[in-house]
């Protein structure tokens, strides 16, 4: 847990005003954002470890789904950290919008059977249409 908190501390330097780091004592920062990041990083680690320990026991599709969850959690953390910039500046706003749309497109293939056409998927029922063809 201490390691995770330290990791969170490193990531948290992007938002120093919120950190309330106590340098004099031994306590670890407990700012809400740091705790949130620590939990999120923990979740990402858990997903990665699950994927690692499940090698050979689950399908490739499940491994990819777990990897996508890591992407999802990471993207959410980045949005929490830097989302504010998109509310004021046009360039970050465009970048955030494009990145989110890209993520949605990726998530369209969440736990999909085939990953050969990762970016070739269509809408809601397109897979079934393909089946019919």
């Amino acid at each position: 847990m201490r390691t995770v908190r330290s990791l969170a501390l490193v990531v948290f330097i992007s938002s120093p005003a919120d950190a309330a780091i106590e340098t004099s004592g031994t306590s670890i920062p407990t700012a809400p954002s740091a705790t949130f990041l620590a939990v999120a990083i923990g979740a990402m680690v858990a997903c990665a470890l699950s994927s690692f320990f499940l090698v050979g026991r689950v399908s490739e599709r499940t491994h990819i789904a777990l990897a996508m969850l890591i992407v999802l959690i990471g993207a959410f953390c980045l949005l929490v950290l830097f989302g504010e910039a998109g509310r004021n500046d046009p360039l970050p706003a465009v970048l955030i919008m494009a990145a989110l749309i890209g993520m949605f497109k990726l998530m369209n293939r969440f736990e999909a059977r085939s990953t050969s056409r990762l970016f070739g998927s269509g809408g809601l029922f397109s897979a079934l249409i393909k089946i019919r063809r």
């Binding site: 969850l69 465009v94 919008m97 736990e111 397109s126 089946i131």
Partner: protein, 401 residues
Amino acid sequence: MVSPTISSGGGCTPRSSGGSRFWSRLMLGITFGRSELPRNSLYFVNWWFDAMIVGGISILVWAGLSIFDRGINIETIFYFAIIASIFINFPHFSATVYRLYQNSANVRQFPVTAFVLPLVILGAVIGSLWQPEVIAPSFLLIYFLWSPYHYCGQTVGLTLIYAKRSGFIIGPRERLALSGFIFSAFVYGFTRAAPTGANFYGMTLPTLAVPDWVSGAALAATCAGTLFFASVVISWCIAQKRLLPPIVLVPAAAHLVWFVAAANAKVFLALVPLFHSLQYLLIAAVMQLQLRIGGRGGEHSWRSIKIEVFRWGLRNIFGGAILFIGLPVLLSWLPIPFLTIAGVIAVAVNIHHFFVDGVIWKLRDPATSAALMMNIRELGGAAFVGQTDTEIVGASSAHSP
């Protein structure tokens, strides 16, 4: 009623006369020369029901709101939207959940979606409720952008279904044109709505300072894509010597209304989730009927259909109420405004739906895939597939339930 006869070469010679013949031809896309009329019905129920549900109602409502703009009480419409949500919007989420978890085979097939994903979303909910000012805005922003994106997927999907049913093969070129204007329209609609910051369960949806040129570029792409798709359709009509059935274009037309024509109409936008849910419920209901009645041992009768639709509908209304009302009430003891709790839960249910929705329609179950090509009459007792085209016309214009 039109009574076409199909020659061996596929030519069609209508025998009856009158204005209804034209409309029947138009609705069914019956050939005026060589053609391959699909053996399935074009519709899940019948032409007017399908057309209304997949977009007709929304286009009519938009037209009505545009005409009677000044005499409309906005609050009344919002109240109507809230009440209607209980019977249309909430059940559409419940239907997705029900479809995934209703049998263990589905759950085993998609374990991450069924078990791990809800935990991740639960984490986001806890974070949002714990830090409503820091974390919740990002959660809301994801929902705000993902929701219309999700609508695009459904529009494309519905268009593909009806295109397939009408024999209009959508290849890569057609698909590019279709997706191009559907998704551009979404970007346009989002960028038009984004600066205003809509209200969602008492919370202000976070905005993105997207510059105006993005909106302009998206509109230009929408127009270009629409023209491209229109040219593809016209080319197909000329090559096939028949008109494309309008039902194929209804979802896309409704989509353009939602995101382009009504991009600034806040009152209408409050109703868009209902229209989207209606589309979904039609397909989900048909799927449910196919699974329950169309499967082995199912009793093919109108009575069975009514009972199953009633049972399924009631179940989903109840399930929707649990998701959107029950869960927030369960958490109402938290020292947070109840509306905030309800809003965060609603976002979580939505995001879960976006994932599950992308998964459950990929089930490679023959019964599931067959459902998207069926007509409800098949389950009502009448054998539909393989009937003559005369009967198809009759089915769509006279004998529909």
